[in-house]
């Protein structure tokens, strides 16, 4: 009975007792969900245009943040550092297109996946070699991001604390998603990109350059990685431990479907909020720390009922 009470009754009583705490938890989940969604967005961009599951997205996040902070610490003014970091991500995109995508075109998924894991190793080594392995502080104030927090009274006597940096993260994420959606739907390159996503050969036959599209896509997801890196870095240190968040993005992708931008967002929010709620209200039952696998379990259960994800294209198999 105790167990059933712990699972079905006590958490809800707890929620009803302290609504301000519940809202706080929901907000925290929302913010981390947004950040998961940003990482997933980087994955989706590349997967859509080239069918590559880019495992290196997580390390690109760290690498971008590390480059930014590293350049700043070497005495480069902050604006210039930001521009230089973007340039570095651009060079990286060109290099990836030239040295990985082009020779490996048309290989099976798993080979391309492995190639991006090879890229991960390379970037980890390079980042540590150039900027050193110790965790770094993100240059939050220098970038003009707000710090501090606001307390909003909620209910009878409760308060909800909103960190300004979290609000900024949410705003930036929403702005980026809107910009990307416009880019995909309203520009010439965006249309070419969707054509490539639809069918490589058909796109080639109407004169779309695959090489150009791939470079653009990798650059775009490099920029998304930079934004994600700044936001994650502001919440914790910039270190290679952030790499693990790339794996967190996997259930997000599964929930949303690999090819859907709105799916990435919704999936991110489900995982972010589900994880926090589960950890706070049901975690103590199991001894805590369930955050590390809850997201995968949510995705696993979800997949059993809908194998293509929320917004994924229907899987049709032919023999």
């Amino acid at each position: 009975m105790d167990l059933l009470n712990g699972i079905f009754i006590a958490p809800f009583v707890q929620m009803a007792d302290a609504p301000d705490f519940l809202v706080q938890v929901l907000w925290e989940g929302f913010v981390s969900g947004i950040l998961y969604a940003l990482i997933a967005l980087g994955f989706v961009l590349i997967f859509k245009a080239s069918g590559v599951f880019n495992f290196a997205q997580g390390i690109m996040v760290v690498f971008a943040a590390l480059t930014l902070v590293g350049l700043y610490q070497k005495g480069v003014p902050v604006i210039l550092a930001l521009i230089l970091t973007m340039a570095v991500m651009g060079i990286l995109a060109l290099a990836v297109e030239r040295f990985i995508m082009r020779p490996l075109v048309n290989q099976p998924h798993v080979i391309l996946l492995m190639a991006t894991i090879g890229l991960t190793y390379f970037l980890v080594g390079l980042g540590e070699f150039v900027f050193g392995g110790e965790p770094k502080q993100m240059i939050t104030t220098e970038l003009g991001l707000p710090t501090g927090s606001t307390e909003i009274p909620f209910g009878a006597q409760g308060v909800v604390i909103l960190q300004h940096i979290d609000i900024a993260a949410a705003v930036i994420a929403i702005a980026m998603v809107t910009a990307l959606a416009l880019f995909f739907n309203r520009t010439r390159i965006g249309r070419a990109l969707r054509a490539v996503a639809d069918d490589h050969q058909a796109a080639l036959s109407v004169g779309i350059s695959l090489h150009q599209i791939w470079a653009i896509v990798w650059f775009a997801s490099g920029l998304v990685a930079l934004a994600t890196g700044i936001m994650w870095g502001a919440r914790s240190d910039v270190s290679f431990a952030l790499e693990i968040i790339a794996l967190r993005a996997l259930p997000v992708l599964i929930l949303g479907g690999f090819t859907s931008v709105p799916g990435a967002i919704v999936g991110g929010l489900i995982v972010g909020i589900g994880e926090k709620i589960g950890e706070i209200y049901w975690g103590p039952l199991l001894g805590g720390g369930i955050e590390s696998w809850l997201a995968y379990m949510i995705a696993l259960v979800f997949l059993l009922f809908r194998p293509q994800g929320l917004f994924g294209e229907r899987i049709i198999e032919r023999v």
Binding site: F53, F99, I100, P103, L104, Q107, P108, H109, V110, I111, L113, M114, A115, I117, G118, L119, T120, Y121, F122, L123, V124, G125, L126, E128, F129, G133, I244, L247, L250, P251, I254, F258, L286, G287, G288, G289, I290, S292, W293, Y296, M297, A299, L300, L303, L304, P307, E317, V319
Partner: protein, 360 residues
Amino acid sequence: MFYREAGQFKSSYATDQAIFPLLQDRIGFFTILAIAFIAVPLLADDFILDAIAIPFLILTLATIGLNVLTGYAGQLSLGTGGFMGVGAYACYKLTTAFPDVNIILLILLSGVFSAGVGLVFGLPSLRIKGLYLVVTTLAAQFFLEWCFIRIGWLYNYNVSGAIDSPERSLAGGLVLTGPNADSVTRYLVVLAIVAVMTLLVKNLIRGRIGRSWMMIRDMDIAAELMGVRPLVAKLSAFAVSSYICGVAGAMFVFFYLGSVEPSAFSITLSFQILFMVIIGGLGSLIGCYFGAAFIWILPIFLRNALPAIGIDIGAENIVHLTSMIVGVLIILFLILEPHGLARLWQLGKEKLRVWPFPYA
């Protein structure tokens, strides 16, 4: 010139189906066995045995385990580290509960537990395929890792949270595990287990079960139409694969590391073994040996070779440089030969067949 099949006739079904149909292959195989069982223990020092040979063999076994699942049955998995951990913890629990039972028996038995866990996490594979399946195996990986940390019963509630291998010896007094075990003894035990398991897997793959795995891998719907039961084929692949990984995990603790923290069986290990499978060649047993050698020995070699040729940039930078070089080599390998080292080996043998001419 030396490597010709000319004049070697297969006059019975048994010779036709032999693992090594060519005399030259048989000679080569037994030479390698002789080197591994006799020359290496006689000549190698403790460093080579402890730091290279033993972990290489154990990781090879884990690679074979993953190759059964990924290379032969086509189910991509990132849970290898977790399944190895199950084997290790099961063996630890067994040997502390039954200290008098032969440790080798317990190691082989502990694989059964990880096979059971593998079966449970293999169930979603009936509905989920490809990259999506990676998520379920990741769920296994992180859930099992969490169990190793949080469930005190698994490590007998000791304060450090780590498990160490207690001293166990054979009836004759020969110490097999624990700090006092001799490197040569441990090496020979590991080698024997790995050799026997390789032979078993080889025969499993040549038989009906292995063929049904490969049918599922190549096209599951077609295989199903032709009478292969996906439930049986997929779950047996998961069970066999996890069994082998579990045995490898138990040996990893008892014959190599001696004492492990739960973090030893993290996702990094899973990745490392997936690398070995891919670099060695999906669906090839000899590739497992090549892949494990490449991924395990190359960094050790680089770490020792770079200072030797005068590139002295400090120990930390060597590690970073090694990581970069390994990354570049992986990409290079995938570009040059996506089918892995096993394919190179095969090409080499074909070239050797017509040598000294460029073609026959």
